[in-house]
């Protein structure tokens, strides 16, 4: 197991390096000026050149990359051009906010998705199956930013029950686990949970249906196991694949959603990324993409390890 762990960790290093190169290239080949946020469009050519020199954008790309990569290895992702604040501190704060949102969205999405998936799979082709499948299809299909807007119109603008925007009455910096703050999470978390709910439900339904159709289930029943006993076996067999899907979905949620976080002005990683894109804030953009990409790398690693712990056949293969 230790050898497997070391091997998998070592595999992530070239992936991380590749990701950093891709991040750097992506933001530099995109059209637009990296100094958009600090230079007005009417700035003179001379001033533009001077600013490029001051910010180091006049240096060759490889030099810019090596400087950035060297600092990133030490945990310094540079300084945001638009705000002058440290990218690392901006990211840490945004990730904390996204984590809160993702945790609630995960709870809603995985619980409902798991429930719908198992029920639908267990009662295949019944009315319950069709109803649960319909809900999961809607979850996967509905544009979540549209759903967010509809929820805001109903529960904020019309009924006035829940706030439309923000991460608390005084911002996220004084976050507390009370209703005054939690009510800000309700609408974005519901909106964010819809897609993972649908995906998890559909995956688990297919898994449960497949497992139930296998011969060993008939064997279990022939041995006299009750439904609860069979259910335990189904869960155990479905778990590795379901976990992998859930892990990826959790990764997506941790990455934040530009659309949802913008609709709700939730100051998470998606909102940060959106700002960085529109302001052409290259250090912030590079740093955010790199960290979000590393999220997936680490998450995949964890999922692999958990899968192999549950099902040793994976490790051997």
């Amino acid at each position: 197991m230790l050898f497997y762990l070391v091997k998998r960790v070592l595999y992530t290093l070239p992936v991380a390096f590749g990701v950093s190169i891709v991040c750097f290239m992506l933001v530099h080949i995109a059209p637009g000026d990296p100094l958009t946020s600090v230079l007005p469009p009417d700035a003179s050519a001379q001033l533009q050149q001077e600013m490029r020199r001051l910010y180091g954008f006049d240096r060759p790309y490889y030099e810019q990359f090596l400087r950035w990569f060297g600092r990133a290895l030490q945990g310094d992702l540079g300084t945001s051009i638009a705000t002058g604040r440290s990218v690392t501190s901006e990211l840490v704060k945004a990730m904390g906010n996204t984590l809160i949102l993702a945790a609630f969205a995960t709870m809603i999405g995985f619980v409902l998705g798991g429930l719908f998936g198992f029920v639908a799979g267990y009662f295949r082709n019944s009315f319950i199956d069709r109803f649960a499948s319909l809900l999961s299809v809607i979850g996967v299909s509905v544009p979540h930013y549209w759903l967010g807007m509809v929820l805001v119109i109903i529960f904020s603008a019309q009924l006035g029950w829940l706030p439309a925007t923000g991460a608390g009455p005084g911002g996220s910096s004084d976050w507390a686990w009370d209703w005054a703050h939690l009510k800000h999470v309700v609408l974005p978390a519901i909106t964010m949970s819809v897609i993972p709910m649908g995906i998890v439900a559909r995956t688990i339904r297919a898994l449960v249906a497949d497992i139930l159709s296998q011969e060993f289930v008939g064997g279990l029943r022939a041995k006299g196991l009750l439904d609860l006993g069979v259910f335990k076996h189904v869960v155990k067999n479905a778990a590795p694949t379901a976990l992998a899907v859930m892990g990826l979905q959790f990764g997506y949620l941790l990455g934040g959603s530009i659309l949802i976080e913008t609709v709700f002005s939730w100051p998470g990683t998606g909102f940060l990324l959106g700002n960085a894109i529109f302001q052409r804030d290259l250090p912030l953009l590079q740093g955010t993409i790199l960290v979000l990409a590393m999220f997936f790398v680490v998450l995949n690693l964890i999922v692999d390890l958990v899968q192999s712990a549950i099902d040793p056949r994976i490790q051997r293969s």
């Binding site: 059209p31 007005p40 439309a164 911002g171």
Partner: protein, 549 residues
């Protein structure tokens, strides 16, 4: 005795509760939903375009000169700010003497004086100054292109030097906000000693200053939550009694998404939103909110190409296009949220100048001009225009461009729209019509602010501002225009300068290097409890005289 004490105690606690309730009910709070995606910088030189100046510049800081924001009817003109008077040196027009307002204090209690002016000029122009701030240079230096240095004459007199005689300097200086040198020095002293690099120390001091700013304005910054909110409280000892705030606290919230802003207003989370979504206007009105708008010094144009082979080289074609657009219909399409232009500035403005060409809807005259130019229903003129699908100040570029495209069809034009990404369009604007990035376009649709004569007129009509120097994308210019510009720049009494600028504007409208399509009207929606709102003919608005009912 016991009962008496109990009664007294009850009365006292009731009185205390009532007082506390009274005190808290008395805080007059104004919450504003901005279109910016982040709080504009708070250290004195805001980013985020003029929305930054509007919300974290003018409320917290003063400049040597101000814009008069007190009237919704009259044009917004330059008035004294922290300088009470100014004059160019008769012998050397590159030197200006500014007399400073006495008795003004920064929010930290230090004095505003000539040293503070010199310090604030050096923060963006002197790379060797210990407090030089590279990130403030871009948004400041470009707006005062000829200013070179400042020198103290005495505590309340300062001499400013320009690179060339430039009568626009007092206008430019409305963009240089005065931050407190003493407060910055305190922030620098608080930077940990292990930070040895002077530039890094200065950077950290500015960052700390942004979190706890100090200017001389009617509001003091008190709380910054990056990307989420910024809070300001009233500066009750502000030097101008007319602008001493009646509102106790202002909270600025960046809400970049139009629907989110509207929902925040309708749900009572904010009292004021900038640029409500046009679709939501009827609902906003029906819920008792007040909509404010007024034409701004803003132009939504097609800037025409004058390079060889351009169809716009023929003045008749330029005039025909200007006469072929029914701008009133376009205004209706935009729910009334646009101003109908008669030029770059409106009639009544000091720079108007009574041009002989009247920009109006006259399709018969337009067709006649096109026929004279050799075009007809069967021999149509093909033109290509670069625009974007979105962007600051672009209003609603796609429906508006499609409207113009359709309108010009009646006058024998076949318009091809080349829609590109906003930042790319900006970059192309600087590169000019001859550059490959123009992709053969004959016009470019980039909107601009027209508060300052350089940005409103000079950069589009001078031969010295051909790309890549500045934004004369279409290479429009000749000796006549260079002469008019030189005269305006070299006329140092305000009335004479405005007269010279009026002569320049008159000729610009007559020569029509643009198709003038619209002025933005800066729509904003507010709760009815916000009183004393004056929306001037400006990009800015003054929060200080407002009150909360």
């Amino acid at each position: 005795m016991k009962t008496g004490l109990l009664k007294a105690g009850l009365l006292a606690s009731l009185a205390f509760t009532a007082m506390m309730g009274f005190a808290s009910a008395q805080e007059k709070l104004l919450r504003i939903g901005m279109t910016a995606a982040d709080v504009p910088r708070t250290h004195g030189q805001p980013d985020q375009g003029f929305e930054g100046n509007r919300f974290t510049g003018i409320p917290m800081y003063d400049a040597l000169t101000h814009w008069d924001l007190s009237s919704a009817e009259k044009p917004s003109v330059l008035i004294p700010g922290l300088a009470t008077e100014w004059k160019a040196d008769d012998a050397d027009k590159t030197k200006w003497v500014f007399k400073l307002r006495p008795g003004v204090k920064f929010h930290d209690g230090s004095d505003f004086n000539a040293d503070a002016v010199v310090w604030n000029v050096r923060k963006v122009l002197d790379k060797d100054a210990p407090h030089f701030a590279a990130d403030q240079v871009g948004v400041t230096a470009s707006r005062m292109p000829t200013l070179r240095s400042a020198r103290k004459i005495d505590d309340l007199t300062v001499e400013l030097t320009t690179s060339e005689p430039d009568s626009f300097l007092p206008i430019n200086l409305s963009n240089l906000f005065m931050a407190s040198p003493a407060h910055w020095a305190a922030k620098l002293a608080a930077v940990p000693a292990n930070v040895a690099d002077p530039a890094e120390r200065a950077k950290q001091a500015w960052l700390a200053f942004a979190g706890d700013p100090s200017g001389t304005g009617p509001f003091k910054g008190v709380r910054l939550v990056p990307r989420e909110r910024f809070e300001m409280v009233a500066n009750k000892s502000y030097w101008d009694p007319k602008r001493t705030p009646k509102i106790d606290r202002v909270v600025l919230l960046p809400l970049p998404e139009a629907n989110a802003r509207t929902a925040a207003l309708l749900s009572g989370q904010v009292d004021w939103i900038e640029a409500p979504s046009p679709d939501a206007m009827p609902q906003i009105k029906s819920r008792g909110f007040t909509l404010y708008s007024n034409p701004q010094p803003h132009v939504w144009p097609w800037q025409l190409s004058f390079v060889e082979g351009s169809p716009w080289l023929d003045k008749r074609v330029r005039h025909a296009a200007n006469l072929c657009i029914n701008r009133d219909e376009l205004k209706e399409l935009l729910g009334g949220m646009m101003g109908v232009p008669k030029g770059t500035v409106p009639p009544g403005h000091p720079w108007w100048g009574n041009p002989t060409f009247d920009i109006k809807y006259d399709p018969a005259a337009a067709k006649k001009l096109m026929t004279e130019a050799g075009f007809s229903a069967t021999k149509r003129l093909k033109v290509k225009v670069q625009t974007s699908a979105s962007g600051s100040g672009q209003m609603q570029p796609i429906p508006m461009n499609e409207f113009v495209q359709q309108a010009l069809k009646e006058c024998f034009f076949d318009v091809e729209l080349d829609v590109i990404e906003w930042n790319t369009l900006f970059t192309n604007w600087r590169q000019g019509a001859k550059h490959e990035s123009a992709r053969g376009a004959h016009a470019i649709n980039v909107t601009f602010a027209a508060m300052d004569p350089f940005f409103a007129m000079v950069r589009f009509t001078s031969t010295k501002t051909f790309p890549p120097v500045s934004n004369n994308w279409g290479f429009f210019g000749n000796d006549e225009f260079d002469g008019l510009i030189a005269k305006a720049r070299g006329t140092f009494d305000d009335a004479g300068r405005d007269q010279a600028l009026a002569a320049l504007h008159k000729r610009i409208v007559e020569e029509a290097p643009f198709i003038w399509v619209a002025h933005d009207v800066g729509p904003r929606a507010m709760s009815a409890k916000v009183k004393g709102v004056v929306q001037p003919k400006s990009w800015f608005i003054d929060i200080a005289p407002m009150s909360i009912d």
